[in-house]
C-alpha cells in the first residue's frame, strides 16, 4: 500500500515537474529579433548581420529605388523587395557560420556585387 502511494506521489511529482518544464520553456521562448535593411542599387544597409543561433529573426526590407530581391539560400529565406512596400523575411539561424545573402533580382551593372553576410554565433 505504502509502495503504491509512493509510486503515485512520484508520478504526480513527475507530472508537475513536466508541467513546470513546459511552463519554463514557454517563458524562455526567445523573442524575435527585428532588423531593418535598406536595399539600394547595389548595396544593402546593413550588409553584415550577426545573429545568435536559435534566436528567430524578422528582417524588414525596403528598397530606395528599384525592385530588388533578398535571398539567403542557406536558410531558404527570400523575398522580393517592392518599392513602397516592406518585405518581411523570417528566419531562424539554425547553424553557426558565415553565410551569403544576395540580391537575386537583376537590377543593373553592379548587381553581381550586391550581397552581404550573415554570421551566426553560438
Amino acid at each position: 500500500m505504502q509502495t503504491k502511494r509512493r509510486r503515485f506521489t512520484l508520478a504526480l511529482g513527475g507530472l508537475l515537474l513536466g508541467a513546470g518544464t513546459i511552463g519554463l520553456r514557454a517563458a524562455a521562448q526567445p523573442k524575435e529579433q527585428v532588423i531593418k535593411i535598406l536595399a539600394r542599387r547595389f548595396t544593402y544597409s546593413p550588409n553584415q548581420l550577426t545573429l545568435k543561433k536559435g534566436i528567430p529573426v524578422v528582417l524588414e526590407l525596403t528598397t530606395a529605388d528599384v525592385l530588388m530581391g533578398f535571398n539567403a539560400p542557406d536558410f531558404q529565406a527570400r523575398a522580393d523587395i517592392i518599392p513602397g512596400q516592406v518585405a518581411i523575411v523570417r528566419l531562424v539561424p539554425d547553424k553557426v557560420g558565415t553565410f551569403t545573402f544576395l540580391c537575386d533580382v537583376f537590377c543593373g551593372s553592379g548587381h553581381e556585387s550586391m550581397s552581404g553576410t550573415i554570421t551566426v554565433v553560438a
Partner: protein, 302 residues
C-alpha cells in the same frame, strides 16, 4: 555522312583542339527516332555554341574587350568544316541603364556577328540584354526570346529565364513548354538552349533559375534531353537524373569556380596567357549513337 573523329583529329593537329566531352543521350534505342537517314546511315551534324560576349563591357578583366568577339567570329569562320548552325546562349551585350546605349550595343553586336559565314544563327538573351526592360530592346533586334526549331531529327527548345528580372521562366512559358513537349515522343532527341542554369548550381551567386525545377520536371519524362547554357563563364557539366547540363565558357571574362572566392568577380586577365578561360565549343550530334560530343575551343590559336 561526316567523320567527326577525323575532323577532331584535324583540329588537334591544327592546335585548336580542346577537351572532348561526350554527353550520352541515353539508350541506343532513341536512334530509331531520327528521321534523317542518309546512304543507309544517319546524318550527324555539328553546331557551335558561343556565349556571354558582353559586348560593351570595358575593364581590366579584358584589355581586348573590343577585339575578343571579333576574334571568336574569325575563329568560327576558320573552322575546317562549317557548322550547320550557331547558337548564342545569352548576354550578347553588357548591361546598361540607358535604353539608347542598350540598342547601340545590340546593333553593334549584330553587325559583328553578321560577319559569321554561317548564316543560320540562333540567339537568346541573357539578363544583361533583357532583364532591365523585360526583353523589349532585345526583341527589336532578335525577335522572340523563346522558341523551338528542329534540325536533322533533334528538337531544339530555347528557354528564356532572363526577361523576368527575378530569374523566372514564368507560368505562361512553362505552359508553352509543356504543350510543346507533349507533341514530342518520349524518346525524342531534345536539346534545351538557355542562359541561366535550370538547376541550383550555386544560388549564393545567383547561378540558378528560380522556377527551373519546374522546367526540369517537364523535361524529365523524356529520355533524351541535353541542356546547353551560359551565364557562369566557364565550362561546367552536371547531371540532374538522366538530363545533362553543359555550361559554356564566355567571350569577355572568365568567372571563378562556384564558391571558390567570396565574390563572383571576374578572374584577372593574365598577360602571359591572354584569352585564358575564354572560348566557345563545337557540339557534335552523333545521331546514330544518340550522343553529343563537346569540343572546347580557344578564341585564339595558342
Amino acid at each position: 555522312m561526316r567523320h567527326p573523329i577525323d575532323r577532331r583529329e584535324f583540329l588537334r593537329l591544327a592546335g585548336l583542339g580542346g577537351v572532348v566531352f561526350a554527353s550520352s543521350l541515353g539508350t541506343a534505342g532513341c536512334a530509331g527516332t531520327m528521321s534523317t537517314a542518309k546512304d543507309g546511315g544517319y546524318d550527324d551534324f555539328y553546331f557551335v555554341q558561343l556565349s556571354d560576349s558582353h559586348w560593351g563591357f570595358e575593364g581590366p578583366p579584358n584589355p581586348d574587350a573590343k577585339g575578343t568577339l571579333k576574334k571568336a567570329v574569325a575563329a568560327v569562320n576558320s573552322l575546317s568544316e562549317p557548322p550547320d548552325f550557331i547558337v548564342f546562349t545569352g548576354d550578347l551585350t553588357h548591361t546598361t541603364d540607358d535604353p539608347k546605349v542598350r540598342r547601340q550595343r545590340l546593333a553593334q553586336f549584330k553587325e559583328i556577328v553578321g560577319e559569321l559565314k554561317v548564316k543560320d544563327v540562333r540567339f537568346m538573351p541573357g539578363e544583361n540584354d533583357a532583364s532591365l526592360d523585360r526583353g523589349e530592346a532585345y526583341q527589336e533586334f532578335f525577335g522572340k526570346t523563346y522558341y523551338t526549331f528542329d534540325h536533322k531529327g533533334v528538337h531544339f527548345i530555347a528557354v528564356d529565364n532572363v526577361s523576368d528580372p527575378r530569374a523566372l521562366i514564368g507560368d505562361e512559358q512553362l505552359q508553352w513548354l509543356a504543350a510543346d513537349l507533349k507533341q514530342q515522343p518520349q524518346d525524342a532527341n531534345i536539346v534545351v538552349l538557355t542562359h541561366r542554369p535550370l538547376f541550383d548550381l550555386y544560388p549564393q551567386w545567383d547561378w540558378a533559375t528560380r522556377d527551373g525545377a519546374k522546367a526540369i520536371d517537364l523535361l524529365m519524362p523524356h529520355s533524351n534531353v541535353t541542356v546547353f547554357y551560359g551565364h557562369i563563364h566557364q565550362e561546367h557539366h552536371k547531371m540532374t537524373g538522366h538530363i545533362a547540363h553543359h555550361a559554356a565558357k564566355g567571350l569577355m571574362f572568365p568567372l571563378p569556380v562556384a564558391g571558390s572566392q567570396p565574390q563572383r568577380t571576374p578572374l584577372p586577365w593574365d598577360p602571359a596567357q591572354p584569352y585564358r578561360g575564354l572560348g566557345f565549343r563545337d557540339i557534335e550530334a552523333e545521331a546514330k549513337k544518340a550522343e553529343f560530343k563537346l569540343t572546347e575551343l580557344p578564341v585564339q590559336k595558342a
